[in-house]
């Protein structure tokens, strides 16, 4: 039986959203992944702060139905002093129920860099939002949000699966300003080798401009 490694750290992000004419919108996202501690379960571990990567992403989306939207985007990642480039296409379905909302997201993306093989991914995510007070999310209200995502990837003919589970608590200050705090848990590499686990303290700030 093999060992599993882990990394723990912070994952702060800022999302700037802008509504455009004719149901179009624009999303700018800045995210930084910062490690605090790494190790092997049942083995050695060490605490060291390091910035693993920084992302800058831009996406543009359009509502195409009552509950559906599509979006395409581009991400620039700086990791190990090297840039990676990712193109993204996504489709969202949003459903409102009596006491919560469910969002389904399907994403395909393609990542390119000078020193790695191209990586192609297919992602499926379901998100549940439950307001703490009432049937829909209002200003000055807390809410719970949970993400569950499956990421299938192919790189140099090698398949991998990553699973993410992200429970969060959010607060909507007003219709244009939300803040979320939670744990972003990810596990990958368990298809072809020993599993890798990561635990990020996730801090998301959503601003509508």
């Amino acid at each position: 039986m093999g060992q599993s490694d882990y990394v723990m750290g912070m994952l702060p992000s800022i999302n700037l959203n802008k509504s455009l004419e004719k149901d179009w919108n624009l999303n700018l996202k800045l995210e930084s992944r910062q490690a605090m501690s790494e190790g092997v379960f049942g083995g050695d571990s060490y605490d060291k702060y390091s910035v693993l990567l920084n992302d800058f992403a831009i996406m543009t989306g359009k509502k195409v139905g009552l509950n559906n939207s599509i979006a395409v985007g581009f991400l620039l990642r700086l990791e190990d002093n090297e840039f990676q480039y990712r193109t993204t296409q996504q489709f969202n379905i949003l459903k409102k129920y009596d006491y919560f909302r469910l969002a389904y997201r399907l994403v395909t993306d393609q990542t390119f860099s000078a020193s790695n093989f191209p990586e192609f991914r297919f992602r499926k995510r379901v998100t549940m939002e439950v307001p703490f007070n009432g049937t829909s999310l209002d200003p000055k209200e807390f809410y719970a949000k949970i993400n569950n995502e499956y990421l299938h990837s192919i790189e140099n003919n090698e398949y991998d699966l990553e699973i993410r589970l992200i429970p969060m608590i959010g607060y909507q200050f007003n219709k244009s300003n939300k803040f979320e705090f939670g744990i972003d848990y990810r596990v990958d590499s368990f298809v072809n080798s020993f599993s890798s686990h990561s635990f990020w303290t996730s801090l998301n700030w959503y601003l509508k401009i």
Binding site: N17, D23, L66, S69, K96, A103, E129, D138, K175, Y206
Partner: protein
């Protein structure tokens, strides 16, 4: 004269129907509900669980008790002094009188290329004792003539562009009384 009537008709449509629906609904605990509200509920509901809400509209605030009686969803609305305002019961399309739903379909056909009804509530307005009878009867038929009855209908509509969701109010004859577009909450944090 004919032109004047058309202009008057169009401007009245814009005034009555060109609105959006904004509501802030907050859950409140039963112990925050005054005795008057609890007394009304105790006369009509004995065992079911009741959820209480405070609704803030653009001009009017109200309280609402939501419950299920014999698998039917009930919303009982009060003003801020806990005077009963109306009772709404969720029903299916097949429970509506055929002439009424046919007339409503005709009205919707005349406005939109496509439409699909997603929710129907029958709304009763009357004095307190009559509304208690309505709830205790747990039936949507054979009501006394002093009950004002309307239908609140949520409809997905499409004419040009993408579909939109509206809340329509019709009377029992299928005459359109009001139309409000339902505005969705932002969903950036669920999509990106």
């Amino acid at each position: 004269m004919k032109l004047y009537i058309i202009i008057l008709f169009l401007s009245s449509i814009n005034f009555a129907f060109g609105q959006n629906k904004f509501e802030k609904e907050s859950r409140i605990n039963t112990d925050e509900v005054p005795e008057k509200g609890l007394q009304f509920i105790s006369k009509v509901i004995t065992s079911s669980k009741v959820k209480w809400y405070f609704e803030q509209g653009l001009t009017v605030n109200s309280y609402e008790a939501k419950t299920k009686i014999s698998n039917r969803k009930y919303s009982i609305e009060f003003d801020t002094f806990f005077n009963i305002q109306d009772v709404e019961i969720e029903i299916s399309q097949s429970e509506m009188p055929k002439p009424t739903i046919s007339k409503i379909e005709m009205v919707l056909d005349s406005i939109y290329k496509k439409h699909a009804i997603s929710k129907i509530q029958i709304q009763y307005q009357s004095d307190e004792n009559t509304l208690i009878e309505v709830i205790n009867k747990n039936s949507i038929e054979n009501l006394s003539p002093n009950v004002k009855t309307q239908y609140e209908i949520i409809v997905k509509c499409k004419s040009t562009g993408r579909p939109k969701l509206y809340e329509f109010t019709f009377d029992t004859e299928g005459k359109l009384i009001s139309k409000k577009e339902l505005i969705f909450n932002t969903s950036d944090h669920l999509e990106y």
